[in-house]
Structure formats: C-alpha cells, structure tokens
Symmetry: C2
Subunit: 389 residues, 2 copies
Amino acid sequence: MRRSAIREILKHLQKPGMISFAGGLPAPETFPVNDLKEITLEILEKNGPDGLQYGSTEGDPNLRKMLVSRHNEQGLNIGIDNLIITTGSQQGLDLIARIFLDPGDYVLCGLPSYLGGLNAFSVYGARLKGITLDENGMKPDELEDTIFTLKELGKKIKFIYVIPDFQNPAGITLPNSRRVKIIEIADKYDLLIVEDCPYREVRFEGESQKLMNELDTTGRVITLCTFSKILSPGFRIGWVIGHPELLDRIVMAKQTADLCTSPFLQKIIALYIEKGLLDKNLKKTIDLYRKRRTHMINCFMKYMPDKVTWTTPQGGLFLFVTLPVNLDADIIFKESLEKNVAFVSGSTFFCNNSGHNTMRLNFSYSNNDEIELGVKKLAEVITQEQTKK
Amino acid sequence: MRRSAIREILKHLQKPGMISFAGGLPAPETFPVNDLKEITLEILEKNGPDGLQYGSTEGDPNLRKMLVSRHNEQGLNIGIDNLIITTGSQQGLDLIARIFLDPGDYVLCGLPSYLGGLNAFSVYGARLKGITLDENGMKPDELEDTIFTLKELGKKIKFIYVIPDFQNPAGITLPNSRRVKIIEIADKYDLLIVEDCPYREVRFEGESQKLMNELDTTGRVITLCTFSKILSPGFRIGWVIGHPELLDRIVMAKQTADLCTSPFLQKIIALYIEKGLLDKNLKKTIDLYRKRRTHMINCFMKYMPDKVTWTTPQGGLFLFVTLPVNLDADIIFKESLEKNVAFVSGSTFFCNNSGHNTMRLNFSYSNNDEIELGVKKLAEVITQEQTKK
C-alpha cells in the first residue's frame, strides 16, 4: 500500500503564496454557504433528532427517491432498489474492490486513470492492466486484444474501470458509440464495468452522452456518482447505481465498513435538491469552471513553448498536458514548486509507469489571476528545461 | 460475509407499537438539537466554505487537538500524532482489520463480543477464538492458555479484541488489575490489543478504570472511541488513539476507503466541545440512562420468573440476561416479536455459536413506560416457555 501521491502533495500546498493546479478541489466560492444555513436550520427544526440517530445502511429513503427521480428525468430507467448512498464515491470504489477482487485478479483501466481508483483496487491485491486512450477515450480494439491475451494466459479479469465523462486526468469524454462498443466487449467476455462519474454533470458545452448504465441491458454496469464536484466534497456523500443483487452485496460490505453514511448530511442534501437549489447552483459552478478552463487554455496558448500540447475538455476539472518526450514532468514539478506553482505529474496516473512527459492541471480551484501567473511561471520552467536539452 | 443480524432486526422494528430493546440506539431526547442549530450556523458563518471543502485524511486539526487535550485531562499522555479521526469507530475496526488481518489469522475476543467488530474481522478472513468472560470480563488464564495452544498449533494470532468498559453485549467492566494482566499477556506473546471504547464515558456510578492505552508502555494498544453514544451517531465521527506508526498505516488505508471524514461535521463537533457543551449534555445523558437502567432492573425483579438472571452494568447501554439452560432465546425472540417486544438473541454475539439461553437488552432507547410494558410482556413469554418444558 503506497501513500497517495496527491495527498502528499496537498501537504506541500499549504505553503503561503502557492498556486495549486494539483488537487481536484472545487472552487470554494461555489459552495452555497447561505442556502445551507437555511436548509440546516430547517432540517434541525422539522426533523429534529431524526438526522442525528443511526440511519439505514442503504441510505436515507428520501434522498434515494430524489436521486432516482432525477436520474429518471435524465433518461435512466431505475427504481429505488437500484440506488444506494455511500460515504463519497471513494467508498463506492473501495466496497466494489472489496467485494469483487481477489489477490491476483486483473482490473482493466485507462492509461491514465484516477489514482484513488487504482489505489483502491491495488489495496485488495488486484493487478492493473492499462488500456491506451485516444482522443475518444479507451480504445476498444486494444481493450479486446488485452482481454483475449490475459484470458489465454489463464488470468482472471474482474472488471473494466471507466471514467466516461471528462476523464480524470485526461479530460477526455467517451462518445456514445464507443460506450456501446465497450459494453459489447464486456458482454462478450462476461465482465463487469465500473463506471465512475464524478464530473458528468459539470459539462460546459457539447451534448451529454448517455450513462453506460443506460446503454447496458444486462445489468453489468455499476455506476458511481458523488456530490463532491456538484455541491460539496466536505459532505462526503456519493451514490451507487446498479443491479439490486450487486447493491445488496455492497450494502453488506458497507455494514462492516461504517454502518451508514451520516443521515444528517443526507437529509440536508435531500432538502437542498427538493428546493431546486442543486441545479441552480450547479449552473453557476459550470459557468465559473467554463470560464476558468477557457482562461487556462488561453494562457497556455499565450505562454507555452512550442511542442507542448494539451487537451480541451468539454467539462470537468482537469487539463492534461503533454510535454516533448525528452522532458520529465517530475523534474518540472520540483522546479515549479520552488516557484510556488504545483500540479500533478501525469505518470502518477499511469499504472504501467509511463507518461513521464505528462502533467495534470486543475482549473477549478484557482482564480483567473492565479491561473495566468501559474501558467506563465510553469511555461518559464518548461522553456528553461527545454533549453538545457 | 453474512448480513448483520442486528441490522436485519432493525428493519422489523419499524412496525408501529414495537417496543425495541434490540438496537444500540441512543435516546433521541439526548441529541442537543437546539445547541447544534446555533453551532452549525456559527460554523457556516465563521468558517464559511472551509468545512465544505475536502479535509485532511487524519482529521480536522482543531478537533484532534480538542480530543488530545480532553484525553490529557483524563490522564492519558498523548500528542496530536497519537490521534486520528475516523468515519465512526466502525471504520476504525474495519481499517484495523484491513491492515493487520490476513486470511486464516486468529483474533481473540470475548465470549460474547460486539457483532460489528466480529463481522469486520471475519470479512478479512480472520478466525475468531472466543475467551470466556466472568463477572470481571475476559479471563486472563483462559486467554493465555488459548494463545499458548494456538501458537503450539502454529497458528498466527494478530490481536486481542477487548471492550473494557460496559462491554457490548455483556455490560461487564474490566477492573484495572485485569487490564494490566491482559496487557502483560499481549506483551509476552507480542500481540496487539484493540481496545474498543464506545461506552466508556457513559458511566453511571463507580470509579472510572484506566484506558488500557494508558496502562500499556509498549505501544501495542490501539484505542477506538466515538461520538455516537455521547453526542450523535448520525454524525459518524469516531477517533483512534495509538502509536504514530500504526496510525500512519490506518491513515493510508483510510485514503482509499473514503479520503476523509466530513470536515463540516468535525468542525461542528470541535466548536461544540470548545463551548463546553459536550460534557454538560453528557451529564444529562448519563442521568437519563442511569434511571432507565435502574428502572429496567426493577422491572426485571418485579416480573421475571425465577432462574432468570441479568448483569447490572455500571454504565453503557445494555443488560445481558441469562435464561435457564433449557430455554432457547431464539424461540423467545420470535414469540416476543409477535407481542411487539424486540431484543437481540445473545448467541448472535458468541463466535463459537454458544449462548443460546442469553439475550441482550438495550435500556437507553425506550422510555420508562415502554421499559415496564416490554419487560412485563417478555417475562410472560419466558414464563410461558418455561411451563412448556
């Protein structure tokens, strides 16, 4: 078990004056402090002690109903038995890993992929096999070839881990057609798909693609969602959508993991949604992050030396940057930290230890001035490294 | 993995008119709803968005400091590096099991013991070996004999699981002398001790015994505490005390389990303690539970047939009842459920499937009238069963 590289970096970031493109932190100005004051008072007045007692492991029935009807409106045909609450979607990843993974089992994931997911799988002894992403995400041909080869070698594959929308760290979105292809492959080889959707609702432009859970007809997709990027990560509330039999196993595992997720916080969120505040606030969050994304890309165009390229995500929180192959992002990282600019080296997210010339930059947390100054300094460090070669 | 028996029962209990001695629920009237309204407003006003952002995996620094100085005042010499926050103490049990247990490892526990602990260990493939309790708790001679025998057989023992104060379900407290003996045995055979203390501060009378963590000098005791029984289980906030190296491993495991515990709730509790409200409210809780404990025992003396015996706990939430050996608590349970009275069959808590003539009764949740009516009906069921024999 290795300490999460990101968490370690987060400690460095407490230095005053640091411009951080490192974490996946939402902008604090998107947190609806005043609305939450009213809502919390109302919950304590109306529900009194209810939210302060133990709650059911499956989650607050009212919040589950709200989320189910929200999904129904968005086109996903599920009922209350298809949805449970977790303590953040990180707990969803952990419980799924706990239930399905035996030491030596393979998990197929994107090259690169969210580190917190990869770590959750590794902890239970899984082996990770990465699949290259192109501009449309995970490559189906390579996915099928890899499955075929591993099966030939007698290896046990348990699931495919996908972040379909504004992938962390690559910022890439799978088009519907490719989602269908990946589901077909999973079907052919009888694999589960773990669909991780923390950024899905943070879309700046373009058409929303369907949830893989909606495209699947065989009950093999488990979908993870969270309020962390659309309301507040400090609430630690996520939810899992899937076949009731799969959810039943997750609920059993959750009982020994933490008994239940805070009913107090669940009731606050349920009332917040009921009042129509979630979508209103989310709209403002999306507007802010769109501006910051565009500003960061403009600064890249203005300051970055030639041969540095980057993704232009249609949503989410991250840009992914590719340096010329002879540059090492770890060295850039150390030097830019000294200039009070932080990011995460892309190699952190590659389970095959590749990607040493890549970087992940968060654009949700810093304001426009910080983005401009940070990108400028970063560009200086990169230019300086390039001239050394 | 088996579904927790208690959780299953909790579902039955939603029947209207049910008198429940089953769960380990605090009395809702002890939840300080009005104080929490003010505190929550103050947190949202003062700290603004801080509590709504991600927090550190170790826990809110302010809450950790508060807890450390509270423990210092109570005689335990620890620093900030000896204490981390968990999502309820159930998460502490889960993470400890995850870190230390390999399939086939032995855990030594009381006969009986808290089911949520036993399940957390079993999930990771541990084998449970029960040690008989007498009126002073876990028997040291049997403990040492068992360790010796298991070691002779080449078995790997990882830790001793102890609930020293008002043990769940037995209601028994280990005197200091026996705590010292158990530590000496752990020392001799180089075992860890997991000291689970959810009820410790809910003491009605008698002298507080020392934490095993205080008596130990070798850093082999990991102590689990929680706000569930002294403030609110709906907050899901616990803490773990131990050697920094052990805590560092727990923190690493917690990163993949849920990243962090809600900083919002941690800040609320920290301010609640800072204002001196915790101890004030706890005093009222203790007064209420003492009355209910005494009332339940009085009702037992009034209604129970001969040959039924029970513990008289000096604190906590539970009485443990022993029926004549020819009676089966599972049958009593089914019949009393039909009369709208619920409890938990004691055998649930015995890892060796014994204790079929025992029952656990909670006295914190029901009011005096419910306690009297419930005990009366239960006594009728037991009397009726006895006459059948």
